[in-house]
């Protein structure tokens, strides 16, 4: 709870990637004009907000729901911009700003493409940006390449083959086709990277992604899966990319393993089709290997969705939980209370749902964290 090593490390590696920081610095300088109102989505420790202030922004709304916002506050103070930057500790889709922005910007895709990031960007474009305002990044490209990656494939697929005499093949099936972080070297790529899908964020694109790419092989290769990465156009002519070139300076790529490696001969092609449902965080894709005479040598279809890990709760129990949660919120609405009082009431009314007091306390704490505010002093 109080160990922030990982958080601080991720912020440090952000700064360590100098080319990337320099690209953002140029892009923000180009986008923000003196007197502008600026929104920083997913502000992190606030680097882009600081850059916007230097470029002359009159007001910056730094939206950051995470704990890292506490660090941003300190940086705004010590760098003398606390009066200009307002930190908003809430997810951006719940935020309504008092004025429309000239620039909406965000470093939303550190460490991979998040469907949530795309949705935040498109939502903010629609609700927070003035007509004719600047959106940064302006364009997102999902790049892909087939990779020869026996070690990564073993770690994700092979490992489940035979575990100490038990059958884990069901896990192996789930693992195939799922994206996970990896770092590749240029030599791991079995064919030239292609654009798989593209979003014109600044233009009219919605949050859905769909695309296809065809990879040609100069020489035979064993292909274990696909590497994906993001190429981001911050502003026209200003691009950053996570392609496997400078491993140290990159966030790395995502690797999607095939169930089994496929062997591709020279002059054969591999076709990939992808559809991303950003609302359900679902990724559906099809891989077709085709020989030069158009004969299909293999076809693999994968689907991965956020729903796969959802807790299986029977409908009656789910309704009961919803009812119990609502009773907590409604009793808070009727009169301000402490967590202890709410827990007592919850156990009295819905005791059968909570085998231990701790279980009821957990639900109350979670609801208070999301939906409560401290009542004014002296109210009781």
């Amino acid at each position: 709870m109080y160990n922030h090593a990982a958080l601080i490390e991720s912020q440090a590696s952000l700064l360590a990637n100098r080319e990337r920081v320099a690209a953002f610095e140029r892009a923000v300088k180009g986008a923000v004009k003196p007197g502008d109102v600026v929104v920083d989505l997913g502000a992190g420790m606030g680097l882009l907000s600081l850059l916007a202030c230097r470029a002359g922004a009159r007001k910056v709304f730094a939206i950051e729901p995470g704990k890292v916002g506490e660090l941003a506050k300190r940086l705004f103070a010590v760098n003398g911009v606390a009066g200009k930057v307002e930190l908003i500790p809430t997810a951006s889709w719940y935020v309504t700003l008092p004025e429309a922005a000239d620039v909406v910007m965000g470093d939303l895709f550190r460490g991979g493409l998040r469907a949530m990031g795309v949705r935040q960007l498109i939502d903010a474009r629609g609700r927070m940006l003035k007509a004719g305002g600047v959106l940064l990044p302006s364009r997102l490209r999902m790049m892909a390449a087939p990779v020869h990656a026996p070690r990564e494939h073993e770690a994700r697929i092979g490992v489940w083959a035979d575990l100490y005499g038990f059958d884990f093949s069901s896990v192996q099936k789930v693992a195939a086709g799922r994206a996970g972080p990896a770092k590749f070297a240029p030599g791991d790529l079995a064919a030239r990277p292609e654009i798989l899908a593209e979003i014109d964020a600044a233009g009219g694109s919605g949050p859905e992604w769909r695309g296809r790419a065809c990879f040609e092989f100069a020489r035979p290769a064993a292909v274990h899966g696909l590497a994906f990465w993001l190429q981001t156009e911050l502003a026209p002519g200003e691009e950053i990319s996570d392609e496997p070139v400078h491993p140290a300076a990159s966030w790395g790529q995502q690797f999607v393993p095939f169930r089994e490696a496929i062997t591709v001969n020279a002059s054969e092609t591999v076709e990939v089709e992808v559809a991303i449902d950003t609302v359900r965080d679902a990724l559906n894709w099809t891989v077709i290997a085709r020989s030069s005479d158009e004969h299909e040598s293999s076809r693999q279809v994968y689907a991965a969705s956020r729903d796969d890990g959802a807790e299986m709760i029977p409908e009656s129990r789910r309704s009961a939980f919803l009812r119990a949660s609502r009773s907590v919120l409604e009793s808070l609405e009727a009169s301000p209370q402490t967590a202890r009082e709410l827990t007592d009431a919850l156990i009295a009314s819905h005791g059968s749902l909570f085998p231990t007091r701790r279980a009821a306390e957990d639900l109350v704490a979670d609801l208070l964290h999301r939906f409560a505010e401290a009542a004014p002093l002296g109210r009781r």
Partner: protein, 380 residues
């Protein structure tokens, strides 16, 4: 290229299970501990491997408790291995779960994590018979003064220099006071070893522990902090140790940093006191004595190492009211509970009814998914 939670969970669990040194030590302990007809509890069961091993060793019933998506995958694994009648899968925190019978054996995952002691203590009290056998029985951290690689200096120095002309120094004191996960191949041990933490899990009463050791330098060099390695007793006198030169592939180690590089000579020493409250807060107090007669005192803690956010600290006693978003949440719960249409319809109705708190469809979707009991924990 969507960042996939299950892909990440599988990669992590796969790497633990692929560590034969650790898994074989655990299976040895399970085989020796379990008696035919035993009831066992598996705390942190993951995809179910250790539960299956307990059944293979003769357990009549195993309650497998896990608070992540992994347990949904365990359902198929348990079925495929014909253990449906023996293994009961329970999703959630062990503190919030009650069992129909008390267990003879506890199999527990234990690491340097939040609530490491309270979940064990709670399980011992509520879920186990008084004379239950424990795996592991004892947990130790062994430390020594160490030279880290350049990476460690970078972690702290990053914050003392300007980036893009901005002052990041407020983060420096946070960066010093974190226990960093380290790669021990990249560090060298300079001193004698000392025990810095020692939990006898059968007898431990307090969640707070404090242990001191004197570490004496054996070879001249630069010291960056105290490196610490785990040692766990799975069965009487059968220890699994990551203390050099022994190694457990899937275990890491930590460096409790001095926040600076100290030059120490043979015979110099450091008196180190490490304390923790339930793995949540770590404090290391060090008195370094060098031959030159110098003494330096370091007193770091992860609690003072991060800005305290008063708004996030909702104590048990603070009186609280409902936010506007909370009112919308209560309405969302009511609609979902009565199954008034699909989630998308509920999301859209919320934007109509609560335009201030739920300004757009993305906010409605986010809120619907936040209040759904099957989804709630994804939004922590």
């Amino acid at each position: 290229m969507i960042v996939d939670r299950i892909g990440g969970v599988l990669l992590e669990h796969g790497s633990w299970l692929a560590d034969e040194v650790r898994v074989k030590a655990l299976e040895r302990a399970i085989r020796q501990t379990i008696r035919p007809g035993d009831v066992a509890v598996d705390l942190g069961a993951g995809t179910g491997l250790l539960s299956l091993m307990a059944v293979r060793a003769g357990a009549r019933r195993v309650y497998a408790i896990e608070d992540s998506e992994a347990i949904e995958l365990a359902r198929d694994v348990v079925r495929d291995n014909g253990a449906v009648d023996q293994i009961v899968l329970l999703r959630g925190r062990s503190e919030a779960i009650e069992l129909p019978e008390k267990a003879d054996v506890l199999i527990g995952y234990l690491g340097l994590c939040d609530g490491m002691l309270s979940s064990f203590a709670d399980a011992r009290q509520r879920l186990l018979k008084p004379d239950a056998r424990l795996i592991p029985r004892r947990f130790q951290l062994v430390g020594a003064l160490a030279t880290a690689d350049g990476e460690h200096a970078r972690r702290i120095d990053t914050w003392s220099v300007n980036h893009c002309g901005f002052d990041f120094s407020p983060i420096e004191s946070c960066a010093r006071q974190q226990p960093y996960p380290e790669d021990r191949r990249l560090e060298s041990v300079r001193s004698t070893y000392g025990t810095l933490l020692d939990f006898d899990l059968a007898s431990i009463r307090s969640r707070f522990t404090k242990t001191s050791a004197r570490l004496t330098v054996q070879s001249d060099g630069v010291v960056h902090g105290v490196a610490a390695w785990m040692r766990v007793e799975y069965f009487p006198d059968d220890w699994l140790s990551h203390v050099p030169p022994e190694t457990v592939p899937s275990w890491g180690n930590y460096l409790f940093s001095f926040g600076e590089a100290l030059t120490m000579k043979k015979g110099d020493f450091a008196d180190v006191t490490l304390s923790t409250h339930d793995g949540q807060i770590w404090r290391w107090q060090v008195a370094v004595c060098t031959a030159g007669g110098g003494e330096r005192r370091i007193d770091f803690s992860t609690f003072s190492g991060f800005p305290f956010a008063a708004t996030r600290a909702r104590s048990l006693y603070a009186v609280q009211g409902l936010t506007a978003l909370g009112r919308a949440a209560a309405s969302a719960m009511g609609r979902l509970e009565e199954a008034l249409g699909p989630p998308e319809g509920v999301a859209s109705a919320l934007t109509q009814q609560f335009p201030d708190a739920v300004p757009a469809i993305e906010a409605g979707r986010a809120l619907v998914s936040e209040v759904d009991p099957a989804r709630r924990r994804e939004h922590g």
